[in-house]
C-alpha cells in the first residue's frame, strides 16, 4: 500500500507539473514572448528530485537516523507526505495564477478600467505564494516536532496532527481549483462570443 501511495504521489506531481508547464507556456506566448524549454527543464529536474526523495529518501536517511522505531518512522513518513501535499498546493496555486493571467489577456480587448485580478499582479505572487505555503509547512512541522519533544506525543497524536495539516491543504485545493474553474467558464464565454 505504501508503494502505491508513493507511486500516486509521483503521478500527481508529474501531472500537475505538466499542466503548470503547459499553462505557463500558453501565458508566455499569449503575452508576446517565446518559451525556451526553461519551464520543461525546471519541471523535469524538480520532478526527478521529488521522485528520488520519495523512493530513496527513507533508505538514505535511515543510515543516519533510527527510522526503524515507530515514532521516528511515523514522523518521517507523515512529514514527507505533508511536504508533497504542500508541493501540490504550490503547483495548483501557480496554475491558478497563470490561468488568471491568461484569462485577463483573453479579455484584454475590453478590460474593465482599473480592475485587476489580485492574483495576477506581476511576478511577486509567483514568489510569495510558494514561499508562504512552504513557510506554513515548515512552521507546522517544526511545531509538531516541538510538541512531540516537549509533551511526549505518540504515533496516534502525530497521525492526527498530520492529517489535520492535509485538511488545511484541502482548503487551499478547494479555493485554487474553484478559481480555475470560474476562470475557465469566463474564458469559454469569451471564446464563444468572439469566435475562437
Amino acid at each position: 500500500m505504501y508503494l502505491f501511495i508513493k507511486s500516486m504521489a509521483l503521478f500527481w506531481t508529474l501531472a500537475e507539473a505538466a499542466i503548470l508547464v503547459a499553462v505557463r507556456w500558453g501565458y508566455v506566448l499569449a503575452s508576446g514572448g517565446e518559451e525556451r524549454a526553461r519551464g520543461i527543464t525546471v519541471a523535469a529536474v524538480g520532478t526527478a528530485f521529488l521522485g528520488a526523495l520519495l523512493f530513496l529518501g527513507e533508505p538514505l536517511l535511515g543510515r543516519f537516523l533510527d527510522l526503524d522505531a515507530r515514532l521516528p518512522r511515523s514522523l518521517y513518513r507523515w512529514g514527507l507526505w505533508n511536504f508533497f501535499c504542500t508541493v501540490w498546493v504550490v503547483l495548483e496555486g501557480c496554475i491558478m495564477i497563470y490561468v488568471s493571467r491568461l484569462g485577463r489577456l483573453l479579455r484584454a480587448a475590453a478590460p474593465p478600467p482599473g480592475k485587476r485580478n489580485a492574483f495576477s499582479s506581476g511576478s511577486a505572487s509567483l514568489l510569495l505564494l510558494p514561499a508562504a505555503l512552504f513557510l506554513l509547512y515548515l512552521c507546522y512541522q517544526a511545531g509538531l516536532f516541538h510538541a512531540v519533544d516537549r509533551h511526549g506525543l505518540g504515533v496516534r497524536s502525530v497521525t492526527a496532527v498530520s492529517l489535520f495539516y492535509i485538511r488545511i491543504c484541502g482548503l487551499f485545493w478547494i479555493l485554487f481549483e474553484w478559481v480555475v474553474a470560474v476562470e475557465g467558464i469566463r474564458a469559454y464565454r469569451v471564446l464563444k462570443r468572439r469566435g475562437a
Binding site: 501531472a15 507556456w25 500558453g26 506566448l29 496532527v161 474553474a181 464563444k192
Partner: protein, 124 residues
C-alpha cells in the same frame, strides 16, 4: 514554538479518525465538483477550437469525465481512509489524464490561440 503547543495538543486530542473521515468526504466532494467543472469547461474550450477548424467534436473524453462524475458520490460511502484514497486516486487520476491528454492532443490549437492572443496584445 511553545505558543503553538496548545493548538497541537488540542488537534491531537480532538481531531479523531471520525472527524478526519467526515472532513475528508466533505472536502473531497467540494474539490471533486470543482475538478469536474474545470475539466468539463476545458473540454468545451477545446471543442470550440476544434469547431472553428472544422474538426469533429470530442467524444470519449466526455464519456470518461462522466464516468468520474458517477464515481464521485461513492466518496460518501467510503468506509475507511484507504478507500477514500483509492477512490480519489481513481477519480482524480482519470481527470488528470483527461487534462494532460487534451493538452497533448489539442496542443496545436491551444498554441495557435496563445500566439494569436500574443499578436493581438502586441498590436494593442
Amino acid at each position: 514554538m511553545d505558543l503553538l503547543d496548545p493548538a497541537f495538543l488540542w488537534i491531537a486530542a480532538r481531531f479523531t479518525p471520525e472527524a478526519y473521515m467526515v472532513s475528508t468526504k466533505v472536502q473531497g466532494l467540494v474539490w471533486s465538483l470543482a475538478d469536474l467543472l474545470l475539466v468539463f469547461v476545458f473540454l468545451r474550450i477545446a471543442d470550440t477550437l476544434r469547431e472553428g477548424q472544422g474538426a469533429p467534436p470530442i467524444r470519449w473524453r466526455y464519456a470518461l469525465l462522466a464516468a468520474t462524475a458517477l464515481a464521485t458520490p461513492l466518496l460518501l460511502f467510503a468506509a475507511s481512509s484507504r478507500a477514500i484514497l483509492l477512490l480519489e486516486s481513481l477519480i482524480c487520476g482519470v481527470q488528470f489524464l483527461i487534462l494532460v491528454a487534451t493538452l497533448v492532443l489539442e496542443r496545436a490549437r491551444f498554441l495557435g490561440l496563445a500566439r494569436r492572443l500574443g499578436r493581438r496584445n502586441d498590436r494593442g
